[in-house]
Amino acid sequence: MDEYLLEAKDLSVTLYTERGELRVVDGVSFRLKKRETLGIVGESGCGKSMTANSILRMVPAPGKISGGQIIFKGRDLSTLPERKLRSIRGKEIAMVFQEPMTSLNPLMTCGRQITEALRAHEKTDAKQAKRHALELIRLVGIPMAERIYESTPSGLSGGMRQRIVIAMALCNNPDVLICDEPTTALDVTVQAQILRLIDELKSSFGSAVLFITHDMGVIQQMTDRVMVMYSGQAVEYLQTEELFRKPLHPYTQGLIACIPGKAAVGHDLPVIKGTVPTLYALPKGCLFAPRCPYATKRCRCERPGLYGAGRHLVRCFQYEHKEASNSAADSGS
């Protein structure tokens, strides 16, 4: 039961730029069980995509994993030799990216791209690979698989392209599927199709899913647990239903409150004052303190740790001594 498939421990990613070192991911930890979906939410620049990319060591150029471990099946991916990591990438851990056009090669047929991913990890002959690829194309809900197999991505719609990307990600039955904003570029009706597809495939393949998005509605529909990120830090870990019922961190509360669909019609939306701090000049204390309505003197000069009990952790001094009462209230409700 408590066997974790993927575990990130105190993960940090630093960008070494000319203007200084930027901690874009700062001590993030999470665990992922089989058949579980963990969501990562936050606004642009909070480090959610960096966290996702760092798992397979795909942090772009000036960036590096500067601390922590990524444990996958007993091995630490952050120190594994590149050659061994390559056998995990796309096989045991696969990724679906936001923009389906840029993650597909425009000059290769869709079929070729899927069989390439297949044959990179398994020794199969071309015929068998093609049969498998056609099967996958049908599996992700594309009619006329043979025709799509022969066509290049440019002839397909956004939804179709994303299905091809998903077919590629699934071709080696991955244990962990990382979805980085897989539906952000798509229309709502197509989004609904793709989300349904990911959910169905999760239950039939038994994979664990790491789902990164800024859309709270998608989080609500897709995930079991959520990690909320702000300026590179995880500020709250909680169950998805808690996120909408009783978020504890002031930032999470603000984020939930300002979703337009939930507020009363025609009324002004509640807002979080101020803006996200730049990574060049982070506040000395709690990163959210300059915008927080409850900030005290202590918040402005001291960084809070993670407080709370069990599955609900909050990075806020308000909950430092409330661990017992908090968990009691949880079990009561």
């Binding site: 984020l255 300002c258 979703i259 939306l269």
Partner: protein, 331 residues
């Protein structure tokens, strides 16, 4: 009340070159026979998937692209027949805010130059002092610090750039502003601030908005009435509450149910993608994806009828569908 803007049978066709392989299709009907009215001080939401013609229609209204046919009556005058200086003067009454605050501001102009440009074009001031006063006042209205007048757009964040775009739109006190996805490029917390700003300006200046968005949550919050478009045509129009709580058209029902977290029930999954607008389906354009499609839908184009006062819907089977829709919600 007199409508401030009346659009009738507006069409915008993009001709296609004939190839000897493709048979009949001669044009992409991006906007095909669209009619609606806009009243002073209200917000009209326009929703639909990408490629449904919502931006094309509104750009044709403001004549950023010339419509193929139809009429646009702005404050009683025929906007489409205006030429030259008359058009320039009439344009002060109708303005536009664009989606991408990065590409809609000239990077080589200062904030002051951007905001004051409409003012200079229409000579809307008596002397230098008044001009300065108007610029400072407008910047304050949209929540920009007047000290930033000499900065360039790249020095601002996405939310602030959108404020610059809004300042440019309101400086001449227009009666109508077309907002084309004004918050789609912004994060939720910034989105909320811009929406609140738009509402504040509407209260203070009495502007009517046409609010284009694919985000139904945003439209639900800001709009008084809503138009739903599909493949260049209006399929449903109604006031906010009615349309969101009791959608008549099957497309609206599917669209609403697809938004995670907006509706209570699970999504109604629709088959396939939006058809090719160059070769739209016969009869009702939605029949290829409609869960309720009947033989008549394939043959005959449904009229946009006002079954309930103030609520128009283009569907052959509205009566039957709304019954089954109600049965679902009672469960």
């Amino acid at each position: 009340m007199q409508p401030i803007l009346e659009v009738e049978h507006l069409k915008k066709y993009y001709p296609l070159r004939h190839s000897f392989l493709s048979s009949q299709c001669d044009a992409v009907r991006a906007c095909d026979d669209v009619s609606f009215k806009l009243y002073p001080g209200e917000t009209l939401g326009v929703v639909g998937e990408s490629g449904c013609g919502k931006s094309t229609t509104m750009k044709a209204v403001i004549r950023l692209i010339e419509p193929t046919a139809g009429s646009v009556i702005l404050q009683g005058t025929d906007f489409l027949s205006l030429r030259g200086n008359e058009l320039k003067q009439a344009r002060r009454h109708i303005k536009m805010i664009f989606q991408d605050p990065y590409s809609s501001l000239n990077p080589r102009m200062t904030v002051k130059e951007i905001i004051s440009e409409p003012l200079d074009i229409t000579k809307g001031y008596a002397d230098r002092e008044e001009r300065e006063e108007i610029i400072v006042h407008t910047m304050q209205q949209v929540g920009l610090d007047p000290e930033f007048t000499n900065r360039y757009p790249h020095e601002f964040s996405g939310g602030q750039r959108q404020r610059i775009g809004i300042a440019r739109a309101i400086i001449l006190h227009p009666e109508v502003i077309i907002c084309d996805e004004p918050v789609s490029a912004l994060d939720v917390s910034i989105q909320a601030k811009i929406l609140n700003l738009l509402k504040k300006l509407q209260r203070e200046l009495g502007i009517a908005y046409i609010f284009i968005s694919h985000n139904l949550g945003v439209v639900r919050n800001i709009a008084d009435r809503v138009i739903v478009m599909y493949l260049g045509q209006i399929v449903e129009e109604g006031n906010n509450t009615e349309l969101f709580q009791d959608p008549q058209h099957p497309y609206t029902q599917v669209l609403l149910s697809s938004v995670p977290g907006l509706s209570g029930g699970g999504p109604v999954i629709m088959q396939g993608d939006v058809p090719d607008p160059a070769d739209p389906p016969s009869g009702c354009r939605f029949h290829t994806r409609c869960p309720y499609a009947a033989p008549i839908c394939r043959l005959q184009k449904p009229e946009l009828l006002e079954n309930v006062p103030g609520h128009r819907c283009a569907c052959h089977r509205t009566a039957e569908i709304s019954l089954s829709g109600k049965a679902e919600t009672e469960e």
